[in-house]
Symmetry: C2
Subunit: 330 residues, 2 copies
């Protein structure tokens, strides 16, 4: 294993230190491992908190800032954040209008955010939660009861964040997040495994001529091991899986996401195939993201996430955002 790290045990702490130095708009609580928007808590605004295992950068710390998250709680690599951490972040971003938790559907995350929400409620902080479970590849898995949460997390954080920034009340912000999840589906494909620093070896084996269809963001198995194939075929497998679960039509927001080790040019090639697929089905890729947003360390591969837009959701997507990984209009 060759990685740009010092000690495997220090990866999360040292990466947070680098983030703090690189982004003056963020404030990092190193002791509690929380990335805050510098302005937090914003008085009268619903606070947004997300979090989960590290190793998926820029998720979640890279989405903290104006128009998106108020705080992110990174756990150890591929490990849930602890309840105390989430409690601290929730209290830290409560500007009096309550706090929304955006939680990816993994058993540990769900339990720890739930426990944190209960502890916060006891202290008088109103908390609502949105559970993201967009991955159509598998129902139940190694780390999940029900579908896994992946790329739709970015959409939910952006859209709920825009609504919170506009001053909407907690229930409305939560409802928008839920609507995004209900309208979104994802599917991922891996060309290579990833290597967790503390383990020092690949999370699974994949032959030189093989790919994993329906890969999870921690390297969990998907639907099938298959022979490597051209990008257009892999894109089609992913889009057929999405379309079979949620027929695509009208304007859609589509993300072609890199798993961390995939060159950007390859993601654009996949995006061209995805856009062609959408048009065949009578859908329009009205908004898009192409790049690394929800990664799995150094894994090569991609995932595609599609959200069926409404006029309201489109306007919220277009609203200004200023975070390390997503920025426009400011």
């Amino acid at each position: 294993m060759k990685k740009l790290i010092n000690d495997p045990g220090d990866v999360v702490t040292e990466a947070l230190a680098g983030m703090a130095l690189a982004h003056p708009d963020l404030r990092v609580d190193a002791a509690n491992r929380i990335v805050y928007r510098r302005a937090a808590p914003v008085r009268g605004k619903v606070g947004l908190v997300s979090g989960g295992g590290s190793g998926h950068e820029p998720l979640h710390g890279g989405f903290v800032g104006h128009g998106m998250l108020d705080a992110a709680c990174p756990g150890e690599v591929f490990t849930s954040p602890v309840p105390d951490q989430v409690v601290e972040a929730t209290k830290g971003v409560d500007g009096g209008a309550g706090v929304l938790h955006i939680v990816k559907n993994y058993t540990g995350d769900v339990l720890n955010f739930q426990m944190a929400a209960e502890l916060c409620a006891e202290e008088g902080v109103r908390v609502a939660s949105v559970l993201v479970d967009d991955d159509v590849a598998v129902t139940d898995s190694l780390h999940t009861a029900g579908r896994r949460g992946t790329g739709a997390t970015v959409f939910a954080e952006k859209i709920a964040g825009a609504l919170a920034e506009a001053g909407a009340p907690l229930a409305e912000v939560a409802k928008a997040g839920e609507e995004v999840v209900a309208r979104s589906r994802s599917f991922g494909v891996a060309l290579t495994p990833c290597t967790v620093p503390a383990a020092g070896r690949p999370t699974f084996e994949l032959g030189p001529g093989e790919v994993e269809l329906g890969i999870g963001i921690h390297g969990e198995p998907g639907r099938a091991r298959a022979a490597a194939a051209p990008a257009r075929e892999l894109a089609r497998v992913a889009m057929n899986a999405v379309h079979a679960d949620m027929p695509l039509s009208g304007d859609v927001l589509v993300m072609v996401n890199g798993m961390g080790g995939t060159p950007l040019a390859e993601l654009y090639i996949v995006f061209a195939e995805v856009a062609a697929f959408l048009r065949e089905k009578g859908a329009t890729p009205a908004r898009s993201l192409v790049g690394d947003y929800v990664t799995s360390l150094d894994m090569q591969g991609f995932s595609v996430t599609v959200c069926r837009l409404t006029g309201d959701l489109t306007a919220l997507w277009d609203a200004p955002v200023a975070t390390p990984a997503l920025r426009w209009g400011r």
Copy 2:
């Protein structure tokens, strides 16, 4: 070789098709392989054109847009663009105030941009050029007479682009680009080789316990093959090489750039070490970029580029920019 491509011969064309679909602010001339800013030519504004081999995405197409490049000319992977392509782009962005070519110092790029500039001059288009040669690792190399051009290209494109956007004349825009280059130095480290799609195998061999110090962005050899080491030591090798060539002091703009296959969290770890080094030397990392900006396909590793800022350069860096890969203030 597993890659998200269809045919190795179609990589550049299909990636450009994806870019065009993903970024409505760009206009792609597929036949000539040119990425234009949609508004080009901007009347009365100096046009900026850059280009070079593909495989370094987001460089250069990802830097086309308001406040940066007017056009980018991608060659085949790791291959210079041809003179006709550059001529077409240059004429296409000439708004009557002349055009600046920003050229990385590789023999093929230099020759082809020079030939293009001469052909343009014959047609009455005024062209000036800035040659980027910031890599301190080696003098002369496989593809270069003199130092190689790497990360400072991004700085020159951004700062000259801001000045052009502000309406400055060609000579002044060129001078700013030259000033950036004179004040910038880079050094790169590879943990793995990269694989050119058409070749189908790694560009060089690197043992499981080895790194290449001073790597070039096409996998060219650097200064030394060394044993893999912690991030803090590798960061220090890079920064010592930069500091030995150009003593660092005052405010600096620093980029910790990923080679394409490196997780973002690792780049933040390197950035923390780089920032510590700068402070030790009495310099301040006043502005920074951490992420993939000048890649080498799927190579794992990083490069660091430092520019000694002035007040003027800082203001130009901070000016609004709206491109796929760099965006703020709009």
